[in-house]
């Protein structure tokens, strides 16, 4: 790096010159102030909604706050939450992945069948399953980044292919948990914190959230993911290898889906080719409610954790309150629309 900029002639005009460019929210109205705050902290909204839901259900239903109920919510969220991490990475690059659920189920079937039918040791079966998920992601990535097909179409195609492969390989049969290695069921095991039981799958999910949040925030790769999603051509001109970034994102997403597959086996104590049917849309829902923009370049993976928890808490709380499941769907749909509307509003250029 050559230091070429000469010293300021007039003695640091800009160092002292912190003249007001625009003072965000200082003299602006309430609307503008909220706008600025949300703009800077996209996950603030989801965090508040989650808090309100938690407090609301604690007040209105007496069973909600029970330790075993909260641990149940977490277990219900761990699969979609993990898929949501993969989906967040892809949506940050202004893409979308309709195949996350299919990759997850295909990987879980491969792991389970290798262990149950082919007698492959548990750990090896698990790693091969991870490999299958990674390969699926790599295929998506090649089609998106090198062949330059739109992500929506690519993953719509691979979604069907992965489902077909999955049905072919599994012969549409469920593999019982008792037939497979304990390693594959490990994510469903629980340990005690006080009188709450927490599944290892929940820990794994939280660990992955932390890891990806770190990678996005603190590494060059993370900066490149944002830059590529923000404006691919600008990022390319600025020296980002955007093709490589996209390829890596889809590949990592494939691996994360396979990990979600492992968590899925623990959650339902079996491996079913029919499992996770709504997982694709649920993962997108979690990302969107979590404040990540579908236009790419904006959002935080932690928001997706909030988004998944909001959906989990809402469904659980409404069920406890005796509300029909159709109103749970209604509420989730309403949240999605609200989140997207807020995103549009946030992205409006300040004048």
């Amino acid at each position: 790096m050559a230091e070429l900029t000469p010293a300021p002639a007039g003695g640091g005009s800009a160092a002292a010159g912190t003249t007001t460019v625009d003072a965000p929210g200082r003299s602006a109205g309430l609307g503008a102030r909220i706008h600025n705050t949300l703009h800077d902290k996209a996950t603030l909204g989801p965090a508040i909604v989650l808090l309100i839901a938690l407090v609301g259900f604690s007040v209105f239903t007496d069973r909600f706050l029970a330790a075993n109920n909260l641990s149940l919510v977490l277990q219900q969220v761990m699969v979609v939450g993990t898929l949501g991490i993969a989906q967040t990475l892809i949506i940050l690059t202004a893409g979308i992945d309709l195949s996350v659920g299919a990759i997850m189920v295909l990987s879980s079937i491969v792991m389970a069948k290798l262990s149950a039918d082919s007698g492959v040791p548990g750990v090896l079966a698990l790693l091969i399953g991870f490999g299958v998920g990674t390969l699926c992601g790599l295929i998506n990535g090649i089609l998106v980044s090198r062949v330059r097909l739109p992500p929506f179409i690519v993953t719509l195609g691979t979604l069907n292919i992965f489902i077909a492969l999955n049905l072919y390989y599994s012969q549409s049969e469920t593999i019982r948990g008792t037939d497979m290695s304990d390693v594959l069921l490990y994510t469903g095991n629980t340990f005690a914190i006080g009188d709450t039981r927490v599944a290892y799958g929940v820990l794994l999910m939280l660990g992955l959230f932390a890891l990806v949040a770190y990678a996005l925030r603190a590494t060059a790769w993370g900066r490149h993911v944002y830059a590529t999603g923000d404006d691919r051509e600008a990022a390319r001109l600025a020296g980002v290898q955007t093709t490589r970034v996209l390829l890596s994102v889809y590949t990592v997403a494939g691996l994360l889906c396979a990990v979600a597959g492992w968590i899925l086996i623990g959650r339902i104590a079996s491996a079913s080719p029919q499992a996770g049917g709504s997982a694709n849309l649920d993962s997108i829902t979690a990302v969107v409610i979590g404040g990540t923009s579908l236009f790419g370049g904006r959002g935080l993976v932690i928001g997706t954790l909030f988004g998944a928890l909001i959906v989990g808490v809402l469904r659980n709380g409404l069920a406890l309150a005796g509300v029909d499941v159709l109103w749970q769907d209604f509420a989730v749909g309403f949240l999605v629309l609200t989140a997207v509307a807020i995103d549009q509003w946030i992205r409006k250029v300040k004048t």
């Binding site: 600008a234 390319r236 980002v240």
Partner: protein, 262 residues
């Protein structure tokens, strides 16, 4: 009116292109364009809208690959296929479209693609960026440039005005260019004062021995700083003139085709 462009045949151009052709479908952006940049000079590039100025420099900066033609650096053939390859050769560019990432902050933008990692374990194994160092350096570079007043270096670029964004792009090129600096309309969005700072900067860069390519529609700016003026017309170099020997009116006449390129 016989003054040919001042040429020093004994000196090898630092950057040179011959017969560049670039087509987009049936639009021919470059139609056999030649180009020469001499060591240590400020070369103004002017031409009507669509004359192929941006296309020309994009072929030199790796943003585009020409369909035909050759590029030489210091007399040696080079093939520049990507912006990163140009960067590796020491060529830094401010594009007309700026090429900044609005969602990232100023420091992230300055260091995009050449981030500084923390020393030791954190950087090598955890790949952790040294944000503090990048921000401190970025602040230093931005204030050295003196063309903008920013509140915080952590500000996202999208919260900056158009002129301030241009400042970020110019600071990036000036800070990292080691052989050639290319500026495509660097003052288009700037006020009078800020334009003056950029022109000062260009001259300082030249004093440090670096050649600069300045594309501009602003004749007074070009005449103020350029050592030679490359006139681009209909996808080709019409001629190169010496601003001390021609008036802006004569140059504009050549540029628009009202006068022959002599």
């Amino acid at each position: 009116m016989s003054a040919a462009a001042p040429q020093a045949p004994t000196v090898t151009p630092i950057l040179e292109a011959k017969g560049l052709v670039k087509r987009f479908g049936n639009v021919t952006a470059l139609d056999g364009a030649d180009f020469e940049l001499m060591p240590g000079e400020i070369l103004g590039v002017i031409g009507d809208n669509g004359a192929g100025k941006s296309s020309l420099i994009k072929c030199l900066s790796g943003a585009q690959v020409p369909d035909e033609g050759t590029v030489r650096m210091n007399g040696e053939d080079v093939v520049i296929r990507t912006p990163l390859e140009a960067r590796a050769l020491g060529i830094e560019t401010v594009y007309q479209t700026l090429a900044v990432s609005p969602a990232l902050d100023i420091a992230d933008n300055l260091y995009l693609g050449r981030e500084i990692r923390k020393p030791g374990f954190q950087g090598k194994v955890l790949r952790r960026l040294d944000k503090k160092a990048m921000r401190a350096e970025a602040k230093h570079q931005m204030s050295d440039l003196g063309i903008m007043t920013i509140q915080k270096i952590e500000q996202q670029v999208e919260s900056l005005s158009g002129g301030q964004r241009q400042g970020v792009a110019v600071a990036r090129a000036a800070a990292f260019g080691s052989k050639v600096i290319i500026l495509d309309e660097p003052t288009a969005a700037l006020g009078v004062k800020e334009s003056g700072k950029v022109l000062d900067l260009i001259q300082k860069v030249r004093q440090n021995g670096l050649p600069v390519i300045l594309i501009s529609h602003n004749m007074p700016h070009v005449f103020e700083v350029a050592d030679r003026i490359h006139i681009q017309r209909l996808g080709r170099r019409a001629t190169v003139v010496d601003p001390k020997e021609r008036t802006p009116n004569e140059v504009v006449a050549i540029m628009t085709g009202a006068a022959p390129a002599t």
